[in-house]
Amino acid sequence: MKVLVIFILNLIKMDNKDIKILEAILFASGEPLDENDLKEKIKEKNNISNLLQEIKDFYKNRGINLIKTGNKWSFRTAEDLSDELTIFKTQKRKLSRAALETLSIIAYQQPITRSEIENIRGVQMGRGSLDHLMEIGWIRPSGRKSIPGKPTLWSTTDLFVEHFGLNSLSDLPSKEELKASGFLDKRAAIATISDLAKNDENFQSNDNFEQDDENNIDDFIQNT
């Protein structure tokens, strides 16, 4: 009896690093992994089958089970739950560039008409752009402009403010702040003629400046 208790206590305490590693890798990978590949990651390579069996037993009655198919192992949710459990997953999608541009113009310059937006973007807008943004719930029609034709004016919604993590519309950084925060940086500026004509001293210090910038970027990429 005593032996069994100790065995069980050990199971629960689980000092085995190899088991922890296997669990974590199987969990993080999210897809079935070959036993031979798993072997590479642990110390007691010859013991891999026992370790995996141990994990399998440990999870036997849990909501997650360790499953072997062919020579591959993976965690999956317990089978007896599949009938009653529907989970909602969010499929992540980014807005198209055109929609994002349109949205940002509306955000900054609302209320604004369709043709004013087209003017700024310099292209005619596809039919669906505004509809799409309205469907998501980020823009709404907000009256009509009193010019001939009375075009619809567009504004952003509360949902827009909420989704983009703003307290209010006035939180949107101004142009100057965008500049100060680095958004308006011209990364590869082409020197103008007048730049070239500037005296050499200036020219050199410009060079230095560029280099600093590069160092800076390196800092971000490098493992500092």
Partner: protein, 255 residues
């Protein structure tokens, strides 16, 4: 990295780039640590000396130095002189003690945040130290579409629009100070009468501007091209006696 800086400063070597420091306060902090006392007991006057020393040494090696660092050096010099003077009568200005206190506070606060930032970054960080996982295989899944475009995307997009509209607006070609070939041709034609004898090319071109090599180069090259053009059309003769020798120019009366 900081440790390396510390030792180098202690040994009196100043062959460091200021790029290694995040501004004058950061540099002060590194210097202060070399005093090996608690920051609240630090001798500000000694620190001021160290800093000014450092900046002076640095300037001997690197001529350019960020204004921030110089402003701080000037300010420390001022503070030192105030500290040396007998206590003043109370005026509207801050007393030397208050200024000293402010500097100590700033140093201690920056040190605190530098330490904190290391502690924070050593926490288990998602996607670096810990990972999400799992798989929804085997469960019924319904999908909601979630637009992940965030504020950053929005601002980036708007900035892009601002940038492109700025570029259009700023498409004015600035007046060029460079000397053009057309200018040179016109000018040379105007002074033909003065070069009836062989004359050194360099004496014919406009006076070179001091300290502006770029413009000077443009003057020389545009005049050279102009004289080639004029000689091709028979207005002038050119000669050069040897490679890299002087170029001589003469008005061709028959041209």
């Amino acid at each position: 990295m900081l440790n390396v800086q510390d030792t180098e400063i202690k040994e009196g070597k100043f062959n460091l780039l200021l790029d290694n420091f995040e501004g004058p306060i950061d540099l002060l902090l590194v210097l202060a640590r070399s005093q090996k006392v608690d920051l609240s007991d630090i001798s500000i006057s000694e620190l001021a000396d160290q800093y000014i020393n450092f900046i002076n040494q640095y300037r001997n090696i690197h001529i350019e130095i960020a204004a921030d660092y110089l402003v701080m050096a000037a300010w420390l010099t001022y503070l030192k002189s105030r500290l040396l003077l007998p206590k003043e009568e109370k005026t509207d200005e801050y007393t030397a003690d208050e200024l000293e206190e402010a500097l100590k506070y700033q140093l201690q606060r920056l040190e605190a945040f530098q330490n904190i930032s290391k502690i924070i970054y050593s926490r288990p960080l998602v996607n670096r130290d810990v990972f999400y996982g799992g798989s929804s295989e085997g469960l019924k899944v319904k999908y909601n579409i979630n637009y992940t475009s965030n504020l950053y995307d929005l601002l980036k997009s708007y900035s892009q629009i601002l940038k492109s509209s700025e570029q259009v607006k700023q498409l004015t070609i600035e007046y060029s100070e460079l000397y053009s070939v057309d200018q040179a041709v016109k000018r040379l034609k105007g002074i033909f009468g003065n070069i009836s004898e062989w004359t050194n090319f360099l004496n014919v071109i406009p006076n070179l501007i001091k300290a502006n090599k770029t413009i000077n180069k443009s003057i020389i090259s545009s005049n050279f091209v102009a004289s080639l053009e004029l000689s091709k059309n028979g207005f002038i003769d050119l000669k050069q006696d040897e490679s890299f020798g002087n170029i001589y120019i003469k008005f061709n009366q028959n041209g």
